[in-house]
Structure formats: C-alpha cells, structure tokens
C-alpha cells in the first residue's frame, strides 16, 4: 500500500502540468503585447496591424461576447469565431482553467456582462 502511494505520488509529480497562473499575470505576459498595458487595444505591436486588437475596456463591444465565445477565441484564436488571424490560439500556452479565469478577468476590464453592460 505504502509503495503504491509513493509510486502514485511520483507519477503525479512527474506529470508536465504547469502551475495555474493568475489571469492578471497571464494577461500581462501574453495579452498586453497587443491589447495594451491598459487593456484598451493599444498594445506595443499594433502600429502595422491591418486589424486592430479588441479594446477590452469597451463595455458595449465586450458585452456582445458570451463567456463561451471568449473561451473559444482565446483557446482557438480569432479565425475560430470568424475574426482576425492576428488573434492567435493560446490553447497550447494556457490551460482550460486559466482560459476560463481569463474570460472572467476580461469581464473585470470591461466592467460588463454578456448581454448587457
């Protein structure tokens, strides 16, 4: 029994799972480059982009996106919801839990809910 527990513990510890990072920290690392330090779509990369990144503080626009849509576009990228290829898929970078956290974090930036501000 003891041996089995040790084996199980070693197996779990050897899994390549990354620690769950906070949405704020993930936003700072992955989203700010295009969506901006203030989340307003004015990131350092945007000058030459043909399509400008979404302003996450825009309550009117953000309230038209459901949580499921936000999850999908973060995980699978802009093309998955018929938007720009410039929004990449983050599914290999963020876990599903982190993406769900991010969708909720976006709600704090826009101070809005789906279907109404």
């Amino acid at each position: 029994m003891g041996n089995k527990l040790i084996f199980l513990a070693l197996f779990v510890l050897s899994l390549p799972a990354m620690a769950r990072e906070s949405a704020k920290d993930n936003y700072r690392t992955y989203c700010v480059q295009c969506h901006g330090m203030a989340g307003n779509g004015k990131g350092v990369n945007i000058r030459d982009m043909s399509v400008q990144p979404r302003d996450h503080t825009d309550a009117k626009a953000m309230s038209t996106r459901s949580d499921d849509t936000l999850f999908k576009v973060i995980k699978e990228g802009g093309l998955s919801i018929d938007k720009s290829v410039l929004m990449p898929p983050w599914g290999d970078t963020l876990s599903d839990d982190e993406i769900r956290d991010m969708a909720q974090y976006l709600r704090t930036l826009c101070k809005c809910k789906y279907g109404g501000s």
Partner: protein, 230 residues
C-alpha cells in the same frame, strides 16, 4: 616521426580543450547573470519575467556559429522591446511604446573571446531530439509568397519585424533570423514554441508542415536581402 605526430596531436588537443574551457570561463563570468547556461527553461511566469536575455543552454541547437562570432564582437538589439518585453514598454499617446532608456547594450567581446565563446556555445545541444525531427527540403519561396504567408495567412507580423521598420515589437526581429538561426531550429520552434520554452509569449499556431517549410525558406531568403544585412 610518429612520436612527433603524437606530441603534436596532444598539444593541439590540449589547446582545443583550453580554448573550449576558456569559452565556458567567459560565459560563466560575463554572461551567466543574464543568460541561462544550464537549463531548464522558465517553468513559471515569475521565472520568465526575470529572464534578461535568451536562454543559451541549447545554443548549439539554435544558432549559426559564424553569426555568433560576428555578433558577439558587434552586438545589436534583436528584440526591439527587450526581454521581458513588458518591462521595457510604457503607455504612449497613440499606443504603448518601447522605452529605450530601459534597454541596456550587450557587452562586446574581442575576436578571440567571441570565437572561444561561440566554440563552447555550439557544444550545448541538449535538444537535438527536437532538431532531429525536422527536415528542411530544398525548395524555395519567393519573397512575395513568403510575405503573404507570414503576414496575411499566419499573422506572424503582429509580433515580429520582417524589415527594420515594419511589424510588431514584442518578438525578435526576423529579417536577420536566417543568418542567426539554424533552419531546423526555426522549423521546430515554429512547430511548438512551448517545446523549447514553455512560458514564452509566442503562441503555437499549429502551422502545417508545408507552411513551416515555406516560412523557413522565406526567413532564409529575407536575411539575404541587402537592406537586411547586419
């Protein structure tokens, strides 16, 4: 005569060993405060935020030796927003901008030191298994077709520059990539940035095999353009 040859080869062997060791001495004394020489790559955001320069522990899988020797003697800024990019930007009137006052120039080495360091760096190859999975075919791609894939179909220009003043700033400039990087490394990194650097802010765009070949050929062609010569 045989004894002379043995003595000569021993001497050369010792010289070679001390040369390589000299490179490691320089790396440890001058480079290790900003570069990771031993791995692993950052596993948390805090670790990747603390990184001041590219990881070098797989430099032999990554760089072209001739480029290393030249660049180490005459270093230029490759990442317009430095590393970690968010530490080197600030809000501007139209958009966030790079704050150049936060970027420090890279130390320049003498020719002999650059050669010794490059020699040692090229021995660091812990990720040869990833490199071995890539095969670059002999094809070519026109600059216009390559740019179409890079810009329009894959959106790489969002974060990378394909000429000195066009493209994004949070990733390294790519108009010099073909000179800097081994083609198999470029292919492998495009295929899965996270296989090399799990927390990097470059996403895996699931680029097809055909497009990976096209991008590598494009980056190699791009680095041969005169205006991109460095």
């Amino acid at each position: 005569m045989n004894k002379l040859l043995i003595a000569l080869s021993l001497t050369c062997g010792l010289a070679q060993a001390s040369w390589a060791d000299g490179g490691m001495d320089i790396l440890k004394s001058q480079c290790s405060s900003c570069h990771n020489l031993t791995g692993p790559a950052p596993q948390t955001l805090k670790e990747i935020w603390a990184r001041k320069g590219p990881d070098l522990f797989y430099a032999g899988n990554r760089y072209r030796k001739e480029w290393l020797i030249q660049w180490l003697q005459n270093p230029t800024q490759i990442r317009p927003a430095g590393e970690f990019y968010e530490d080197h930007i600030k809000p501007g009137p139209k958009r966030d901008v790079v704050d150049p006052s936060t970027l420090k120039p890279h130390v320049a080495l003498s020719k002999a030191d650059a050669e010794a360091v490059a020699d040692t760096l090229m021995t660091l190859k812990p990720k040869s298994d990833l490199i071995a999975k890539e095969k670059i075919d002999d094809g070519t791609v026109s600059l216009s077709m390559g740019e179409m894939a890079f810009d329009k179909f894959l959106g790489c220009m969002a974060c990378h520059r394909i000429e000195p003043d066009y493209g994004g700033l949070s990733g390294p400039e790519l108009y010099t990539a073909g000179k800097r990087l081994q083609p198999e490394y470029m292919a492998s990194y495009i295929r899965s940035p996270q296989a090399w650097d799990p927390k990097i802010w470059m996403p895996n765009k699931h680029v097809s095999d055909g497009n990976i070949q096209k991008l590598v050929h494009y980056l190699e062609a791009l680095s041969k353009e005169k205006e991109n010569g460095k």
